[in-house]
Assembly symmetry: C2
Homo-oligomer: 154 residues x 2
């Protein structure tokens, strides 16, 4: 298949788009990878290894899921999100991230009730004033509280 050249590698809706997307990131096409990317697309909140295993009903080996996430991370498809717990969460990169450049400055919200981690793309944290003698590569804000769903659910 011919892979279109593009600076802005965007993730389309159809499975065909998804295959192109993976190829653009120089990843081989496998059932695992397609399924896990689809999961990320469906989910509005961040995912951790454990959660992916459950959502795929243990269709794939736990280790395969770890390795898939590592491959996605390395090629800039997903990014890690800092958490207060001891498991690493990931979410799809919305921007123009790839192996070489990773732009990932945004807000993350962790709900204290349901535990979901949600990327809030609209907000921008570049307004934060930084100390002079530090070089900043990446900025992440973690907000915690009660999310919109849990609030209305009471």
């Amino acid at each position: 298949m011919r892979v279109p050249e593009s600076k802005n590698i965007a993730l389309g809706e159809t499975q065909q788009d998804l295959i192109i997307f993976l190829k653009q990131h120089h990843l081989t096409i496998t059932k695992t990878r397609i399924k896990i990317i689809e999961l990320f697309q469906e989910s509005e909140s961040a995912l951790e290894n454990n959660l992916i295993e459950k959502k795929t009903q243990h269709q794939f080996d736990r280790i395969t899921v770890y390795r898939t996430l590592q491959a996605f991370l390395k090629t800039g498809i997903i990014h890690a999100i800092p958490t207060y717990s001891n498991s690493i969460r990931y979410a799809l990169c919305k921007g123009d991230c790839n192996e070489h450049a990773h732009i990932d400055n945004h807000l993350h919200f962790i709900c204290e009730k349901c535990g979901k981690t949600i990327c809030l793309d609209k907000a921008d944290i570049s307004i934060i004033q930084l100390p002079k003698d530090y070089t900043i590569h990446k900025a992440d804000a973690i907000l915690s509280g009660i999310c919109n769903v849990c609030k209305t659910a009471k």
Copy 2:
């Protein structure tokens, strides 16, 4: 010992101050707790369980360290810091935190070179605009890059 009443429970320099501090937080005084608080005071960067074990030269059982951290966390002496890794880091609360109220809105900087996590107290992230339908209890910003020490060390 008479424990002075105070709204602003502050941590003093001497070991005597430290004992008063622990009592104000309704914690019994033990060798472990004194040593670990002292460690936090000495260290300008955040500590994880592992690191505390090493710094105390395994003087205390690993499990005791975990439980000490939990006690400190519960009484508002320390706060957890979100990380990209799978171990939980803690730092002393500088403000007026206690069992009931926890004010902890500040910047955390993680150095990509030396791995240190540093609390940058001066900066304030309350200026971040938040979505309307979310209730925020706590805000934390994680900046990563190169810290002042590693920068000059080259």
